[in-house]
Amino acid sequence: MLEIKNLHASVEGKEILKGVNLKVGAGEVHSIMGPNGSGKSTLASVLAGRDGYEVTAGQVLYKGKDLLEMEPEERACEGVFMAFQYPVEIPGVGSVQFLTAALNAIRKHRGKEEYDALEALTLFREKLKILHMSDDLLGRSVNEGFSGGEKKKNEIFQMAVLEPSLAVLDETDSGLDIDALKVVADGVNALRGPKRAMLVITHYQRLLNYIVPDYVHVLVDGRIVKTGDKELALHLEEHGYTWAGERALADAAGSKA
């Protein structure tokens, strides 16, 4: 599904990613953990194609295609979805109108017939029901006046509607209280499937109590320094990121010796 090879990326001339390697297969959930400033969000932004992130070396293959060559909207149409850490407000643009535009852009790209307003609305209500979310967000403008929790739920709802092949969740748990966290996690779990890969980026192990990943990667200073299963997350919780970083250094030193 996704193969990241020796990815280097800079922001404003400063190198943030220093050679990331990662393989994510269909049906797998990978978690990327790391301290602040380690490059987690940069990785998400590079995958989604945000402006201002310069890839200086490496390659990203998505379903065998060069992802970095595609425009952001093309990536989305090809099935890459990013749940934003800070979803923006778009005043005056109705949620239904927005999501219908997105849905139809993607359907059109795939040569499928576009949905009319009623079909789209029916789909939205269905998805909300599955996610146990209230449909009052449909009557509001995109994220306008939403609380932090509502914004994150809205991201999960959009993901459910757009049915991506690869979902990148950028610190979706940040700023959530425990109830909102559960709703979000339940939503994510409901969307897990054999054809869908997920990259869950988080600072805290807390989220992984609810979304159990197949793999956990530790990103420190722009490199993945450790990979393991969910036990690794628990270990990190106990010992902190410094431990992982030092272990990696020790390993590196050991292999040299």
Binding site: A48, D51, E73, F84, I90, A105, Q158
Partner: protein, 485 residues
Amino acid sequence: MSTTQDTIEALAQREYKYGFVTDIEQEFAPPGLNEDIIRFISAKKGEPDWLLEWRLKAYRHWTELYEAKGEPQWAFLPYGYGPIDYQAISYYAAPKQRPESMDEVDPELLRTYEKLGIPLEEQKWLAGVAVDAVFDSVSVATTFKKELEKHGVIFCSFSEAVRSHPELVRKYLGSVVPHTDNFFAALNSAVFSDGSFVYVPKGVRCPMELSTYFRINAAQTGQFERTLIVADEGAYVSYMEGCTAPMRDENQLHAAVVELVALDDATIKYSTIQNWYPGDEKGEGGIYNFVTKRGKCQGHNSRISWTQVETGSAITWKYPSCILQGDNSMGEFYSVALTNLRQQADTGTKMIHIGKNTKSTIVTKGISAGQGHNSYRGMVKILKGAENARNFTQCDSLLIGDRCGAHTFPYIEVKNKTARMEHEASTSKIGEDQMFYCQQRGIGLEDAISLIVAGFCKEVFRELPMEFAVEAQKLLSVSLEGSVG
């Protein structure tokens, strides 16, 4: 991301799609402005003496203004303009062939309007919209006239109204915008060539939307139309106007006057989509749009509502206003003004509260992109006798890119202590974050901008008649193409 940049640049090169020229035989007045030209226009139209006298009076007043200080200089037009050589303009251009009925309209003209999306064959229209088509200086066709006559509604070209309903024209012409009102109104009063006339009799709700479609075609000409709409007691009418012009390197002058009169309990809704040629990205060419529009809520409980979507013209100078004379009368102004390229717009409204319990609402949305400059200039005046007057004003500006400007010039004058005024203003930028959010959901750049801008303009669009609202949204998208980067 260089591909994004390329797309944007390619889009910016896209042409104004109404910029074609119709090849048709036309007759012109020789360029120049003097009393003989005015007599020529008046004679061409077979006008009565009183109207010729009225024109000449206006001309003499204009000459005085011209010699004293010329055009008004108070508008905020940072790129400047002109000079306008009034002697180089031809004040009359008309297709040679003058049809007596729709069947005789030159097919080339029909094709022109078809191309503009305004088929003049009645059967092609959505039922419920009657159209008057004005081509350069004359009205070439008016649809659904018979149908309207059944209800007593008069909808015809101004020239025809002068011939068939002189008493109405004489009573109301200049009653809202006198020929002495301002420089451009004086010029228009002297040389106006055609326009639309509407009269809705007592108690009649006009059964269809009325609309005038203005087209400038000929080079070196100006368009000076005059529109007069009278809604008698208890009448209701909704009127829409649209305008386009070919692309030319020269600047062309458009100086129109619109007068609305609403008697007791009458309502007039007036909607405009202005899409004159805006010029190019260097600021060459484009229409100079100097327009005076004013409505008088003469009767009690009367209501006048202006809605405008201004996307065209190199310069827009326009303040559709309401004189709230009747008690309990209501004035509204809803505006979207967009400046892209090097367009300059100084537009807004005046609400003059005279009667008791009068109410006015102003909602404006200025969008600046490219190197455009957009100014809101508005006046709310509460006179002494206007007990319990209320005004609500909201001015919002949206900036796209960092080479454009948005400005607000509100004037408030209150002479009655019972007045209640509210004023809200905001300025925002389309953020890269908003754009990226849309793109990440699969929505392309262009559609993302349209979506965000449409959201910004929502409060105004919902005031437009249905057909127009869709058109307005499309137009806005086209006008914004290539505005980010």
